[in-house]
């Protein structure tokens, strides 16, 4: 298993390097310039040139890249053009909000998706199961921002059950934090929950039709015991993988939900940085997302191996 992890990490190196070069060049190819953006529309060329010097954008691209890479290796991500704060501090500041959202959404997916998936698998002909299947399909087909806005209008503006947006750490004000988390987590979790239900149902019904479960039935075990003791353990495997991959997405892909709910997460940070052409933030964040993605995939594979001893990982 160690050799597997080692091999995967080795594979990650070219991916990380490639993506750092791609992002570096890509963001500079995009029309627009942080100096122009910061100097404002009336700026004279002199003023823009002065700012480019301040930002060290007047140096040749290879020099810029190597300087950045050299500092990156030492753990220095540079300073943001717009806010003049260290990029590392900006990212660190945004991570808690993203983690709150990701964990909250995972909980929604597990708590809602898991049991409903089991219901659908165990009693596929129940009306409830059919209703869940239909809701599922609708959830998968609804644009995230659309759902977010509708929830916002209904629960925050009309009914005023929860505040419309904002972020408070759960360690500071647990109740307020949860109130604020409800809508974004539901919005973000809708499609994820649907995916979990589908995987749960598919994987459970597959297991339930397998030979060893038939044997268990034949032995006269109660169905609830079969489901909880035998089926769930095996059927949970693919769901774990899905959850791990979803968690990876949640750490980077919640841009739209963050925009709707004013959530100060890393997706928003990256989106704003792309808008402001704050190159160093974009470079750092993209590298972060790629690293998270790789890590999550390795972890998913490891979970698989740990939960199912039949699987052996080979480099």
């Amino acid at each position: 298993m160690l050799s597997y992890v080692g091999a995967r990490l080795l594979q990650a190196v070219p991916v990380l390097f490639l993506s750092s070069v791609v992002v570096f060049l890509f963001i500079r190819l995009v029309p627009g310039d942080p100096a122009v953006t910061m100097a404002g529309p009336n700026a004279t060329p002199d003023q823009v040139a002065a700012l480019r010097r301040v930002y060290q954008l007047d140096r040749p691209l290879p020099v810029q890249y190597l300087t950045w890479l050299g500092r990156l290796v030492q753990g220095d991500l540079g300073v943001s053009y717009t806010t003049r704060r260290p990029v590392a501090a900006l990212v660190a500041q945004r991570l808690p909000a993203t983690l709150h959202l990701a964990v909250g959404t995972m909980l929604v997916m597990l708590v809602v998706g898991g049991p409903l998936g089991v219901v659908c698998a165990v009693r596929p002909r129940w009306a409830v199961s059919r209703a869940i299947a239909i809701l599922n399909a609708v959830a998968l087909a609804t644009p995230t921002f659309w759902l977010g806005i509708l929830l916002l209008l209904l629960f925050a503006v009309s009914l005023r059950w929860v505040p419309p947006s904002g972020f408070v750490s759960i360690t500071e004000q647990p109740l307020e934090s949860m109130r604020l988390l409800v809508l974004p987590c539901l919005t973000l979790g809708a499609s994820g929950t649907a995916i979990v239900i589908r995987f749960m149902r598919a994987s459970m019904s597959e297991v339930m039709h397998s030979d060893f479960i038939r044997t268990a039935h034949a032995k006269g075990l109660r169905e609830s015991a079969i489901v909880t003791r035998h089926v769930l353990r095996v059927a949970a495997l693919p769901v774990v993988t899905v959850l791990a991959v979803q968690f990876g997405y949640l750490l980077g892909g919640a841009v739209i939900t963050e925009a709707v709910f004013g959530w100060p997460g890393v997706g928003r940070l990256t989106l704003d940085a792309i808008g402001n052409r704050d190159y160093l933030i974009v470079q750092a964040m993209m590298l972060f997302f790629v690293a998270v993605f790789i890590a999550v995939n390795v972890i998913a594979d490891l979970c698989y191996a740990i939960l199912d001893p039949r699987i052996r990982l080979a480099g």
Binding site: Q11, P14, V15, L18, S19, V22, F26, I27, L29, V30, P31, G32, A137, V138, L140, A141, T142, P143, T144, F145, W146, I149, L153, S191, G192, I195, E206, T241, V242, V245, Q246, Y249, G252, G253, V255, I256, A259, G267, T270, L271, I274, M286, F289, V290, F293, I294
Partner: protein, 295 residues
Amino acid sequence: MARPEPEAVGARRIAVFRHPAARITHAVLRDPGGRFGLVLVVTLIGLALSAARIAPFDPFTISADEPLSAPSRDHVFGTDELGRDVLSRTLFGARISLSVAVGSAGAALLMAVPLGLLAGYLGGPVDMVISRLLDTIFAFPAVLLGIGVVALLGTGVANVVVAVAIISVPTLGRLTRVSVLSQRNEEYVQAARALGASGTRVVTRHILQNVVPQLLVQTALVMADAVLLEAGFSFLGLGSRPPTPSWGTMLDSGRNFLSQAPWLGIFPGLAVTSTILGLNALGDALRAALSPRRE
């Protein structure tokens, strides 16, 4: 905006049937979900194609007299902030959304299938390079990647197509590669090789044929994703150019009027949802039809 999971189909071995097309169609039609999806998708295509004939108004005509009027007998879906008929715009919007769906799926297939075939069939360093490339693209968050592409190329339907295509390449590419890998050592491939068939011939005539069904499933899902992504990009202000009535841009401008004129957002939103419902249902039915468990 979750991406479909490639592994769900990719790793499974597909039995070869004599008339796969006929068998699949039959299976899809037997499945209620499949029927539903097929009817929905065919209806949408029909509406899109005949939009010019059935739309009650010109979707572009601005009317200062009746902006933001509620649904009525004249304007069944109401009018937008420029007094344009929302029903007509939604019908014409189907063209844009379906073009984005078809265009981006097509472009993605054109890029992904050759890459996947090469990687899977040749293996070794080629596979290594292509796989790492696909991994790299796949590792970027989809929405941010798309935003980058649209920021680079500028707004407009064509560029949204490019962005969605690039996002979808890794999924399709990996799927192709995995399918090829599973086929490469099949007896029929070995046999063809033994009979002296060239590599290209083996790939195009034999392997590709057996990869197609799974690509079909995935393509339906990519198309559904494309419709969603187009709406998402438009929401972020990166969608089609006005006055082109895409559902995404209609949703985007409609949300400014949600409390005064909810019909501006509701109808294009329903259109998006039903399109994706249809495509997803069709994709699921296809997947089920292709699943070996059925036999």
